[in-house]
């Protein structure tokens, strides 16, 4: 079997359960692949992919667009998350129900270069507000959720997944999904452009294994997959949160994140090239990147690999 390294965004979490279950159930092995997971920040993953330090990455989609715009030779080979998982989160008792309520409030994002910040700007604009109406704080990943909990900020624009952490901690939150007004993509499989052209067979086998892994979970194995993830891969995660996670998987991830009308038609990981292009255009419009890259240059539909 080919030994490959896959670098995943952030840290081991039960949200990556399908990949872990795929390994445990021998799906990768069956495709002739032996996989090792390591973890890092999204920007580092893309640099590592470009440099050839790792074989595959699983970063956030926005990071890939920015990387492509800056000429990194990276290719999305499996649009695993069909929509973005960025979201505005506020405590339920704050009275904030949407962007319109943010006037005069304090909002945290992880970076002025982050997609969160872009989502905030677009969200405010659609609600008839602008950055001048709010005050923005920059807080890193390791502290942003606590800053909301501690009341240091009124709202954060961050990942939808944090809703589950907060609820597990007993904090009721209001959430506005950014994807509703700003299409983007969550975790996607990325590889090096050269690797794709030199060894399409390996990439094909890998994306196939990813697809099969997610299919197994979608096919009614949420419970087993979560057990595998919680037992063997994300053991720091409190076990008593399995209920919340099961709900999240069944009500959100399976129906709306991993699957979309497009995947019904072309299979899991299908490339919504138009969606990617729109995402890139908006990033350019808001000056997160200088020029929008062409989506077909860095997004590949899994079905076309090796043909």
């Amino acid at each position: 079997a080919d030994k490959i390294v896959m670098q995943i965004d952030g840290a081991a979490a039960p949200f990556y359960a399908p990949l872990y279950a795929g390994v445990e159930n021998g799906i990768f092995e069956k495709n002739g692949i032996e996989v090792e997971f390591i973890y890092a920040a999204a920007a580092d993953i893309l640099t590592n992919i470009a440099a050839g330090n790792v074989d595959f990455g699983f970063p956030n989609g926005d990071a890939v667009v920015a990387a492509a715009a800056n000429g990194l030779p990276v290719k999305v080979v499996h649009t695993t998350y069909q929509r973005g998982i960025g979201a505005l989160l506020a405590k339920a008792d704050s009275g904030i129900t949407g962007y319109k309520d943010l006037k005069g409030k304090k909002i945290a994002v992880t970076s002025l270069a982050s997609p969160n910040y872009l989502q905030l700007q677009v969200g405010l604009k659609l609600a008839g507000l602008s950055l001048d109406d709010v005050s923005v704080e920059v807080v890193q990943t390791g502290a942003i959720v606590q800053s909301l909990q501690a009341g240091q900020v009124d709202a954060i624009v961050f990942s939808e997944l944090r809703k589950y952490n907060l609820e597990a901690d007993g904090t009721k939150v209001t959430m506005v999904l950014s994807n509703d007004f700003l299409p983007s993509f969550g975790n996607v499989v990325v590889t090096n452009a050269a690797k794709l052209s030199e060894n399409p067979d390996l990439v094909k086998r890998f994306t196939t294994a990813v697809t099969q892994s997610y299919e197994w979970v979608i096919d009614g194995h949420v419970n087993e997959a979560l057990d595998i993830a919680l037992d063997k891969y994300a053991p720091t995660w409190p076990k008593d949160q399995k209920g919340i996670l099961t709900t999240a998987f069944e009500q959100t991830f399976v129906p709306t994140v991993w699957q979309s009308p497009l995947t019904k038609e072309k299979g899991l990981g299908a490339a919504d090239v138009a969606g990617w292009q729109k995402n890139a255009d908006i990033l350019a419009e808001y000056k997160v990147i200088d020029d929008a890259p062409k989506a077909e240059d860095f997004v590949v539909d899994p079905s076309t690999i090796g043909q």
């Binding site: 920007a43 893309l46 640099t47 470009a50 440099a51 990071a63 920015a66 990387a67 715009a69 800056n70 000429g71 990194l72 970076s111 002025l112 270069a113 982050s114 923005v136 704080e137 920059v138 807080v139 890193q140 990943t141 390791g142 502290a143 606590q146 800053s147 501690a150 240091q152 997160v288 990147i289």
Partner: protein
């Protein structure tokens, strides 16, 4: 003085060699820009932000934090080291917590510093302070401990007051070791300032780095890295000159 002059030559020469190696890696060896931008691209990025004035805003902010944290860390490091060597009984109780606090990796605690001390400059100064304190403290403890017993005899004999004893005998005698701590502390202050800005904030060289890194503006990232290195070098040179002046009585061996 010819010594200082030749030191400047050596530093310049070394920087030239580094620059050449850098150029070699990016030019002939062909490391791509997203891994290591060429010196020229980095220089251009630097000039661009210098001309827009953005650079000076970031640099000024970082420098201000560094200096503030360094001074506070130094004073506290020397003071607590002194108290602990003077009152060894106290050390039994203070040593443990101090070491535990110190060996706790600040990079892991940095996010928590923000929720503990707020978004403002306080959390940054606390972080820098916590990084500077320990090297200076350890250096000063070593210095105060190494005091020649004959000097102790002298101060006892002259019935010096605590302040006289500290100012006139113990502090000057401990200076060489304190400087070791200070030089490490200066580097730590830099690391701390960048780390603090990485954790939160919208200004400073550290912020510039996260921004550049997240947007793959690698030349800008390395321009900011270059600025921190230059800051580090300047701090080091300043401390070395100060050390030379304060410790000239030692007649240190020179080349």
């Amino acid at each position: 003085m010819s010594g200082r002059f030749s030191a400047a030559i050596d530093y310049t020469l070394a920087l030239a060699v580094l620059l050449f190696a850098w150029w070699l890696a990016t030019g002939p060896m062909g490391l791509p820009t997203y891994l290591l931008p060429s010196p020229l691209r980095t220089w251009n990025a630097l000039v661009t932000i210098a001309l827009t004035g953005e650079l000076w805003r970031h640099l000024g902010f970082t420098l201000q934090n560094i200096v503030l944290g360094l001074i506070l860390g130094c004073i506290a490091g020397i003071a607590i080291a002194y108290v602990m060597t003077r009152f060894p009984k106290l050390a039994v109780w203070l040593d443990g917590p101090l070491v535990i606090l110190q060996t706790a990796p600040k990079i892991a605690l940095a996010p928590l510093f923000i929720v503990w001390f707020g978004f403002g400059v306080l959390s940054k100064i606390v972080l820098i302070f916590s990084l500077v304190f320990f090297p200076v403290f350890v250096g000063a403890v070593a210095g105060f401990r190494a005091l020649d017993p004959k000097m102790k005899d002298l101060s006892k004999l002259l019935g010096l007051s605590s302040i006289q004893r500290f100012r006139q005998i113990e502090l000057p005698a401990a200076m060489p070791e304190i400087f070791v701590g200070l030089k490490i502390g200066a580097v730590q202050a830099l690391v701390g300032a960048v780390l603090a800005e990485w954790m939160s904030g919208k200004v400073g060289l550290g912020y510039l780095m996260t921004f550049a890194s997240a947007t793959y503006k690698t030349p800008l990232l390395f321009a900011a890295v270059l600025m921190t290195v230059v800051l580090g070098l300047l701090l080091h040179v300043a401390l070395t000159i100060l050390e030379r002046r304060l410790l000239s009585w030692k007649g240190a061996a020179r080349g």
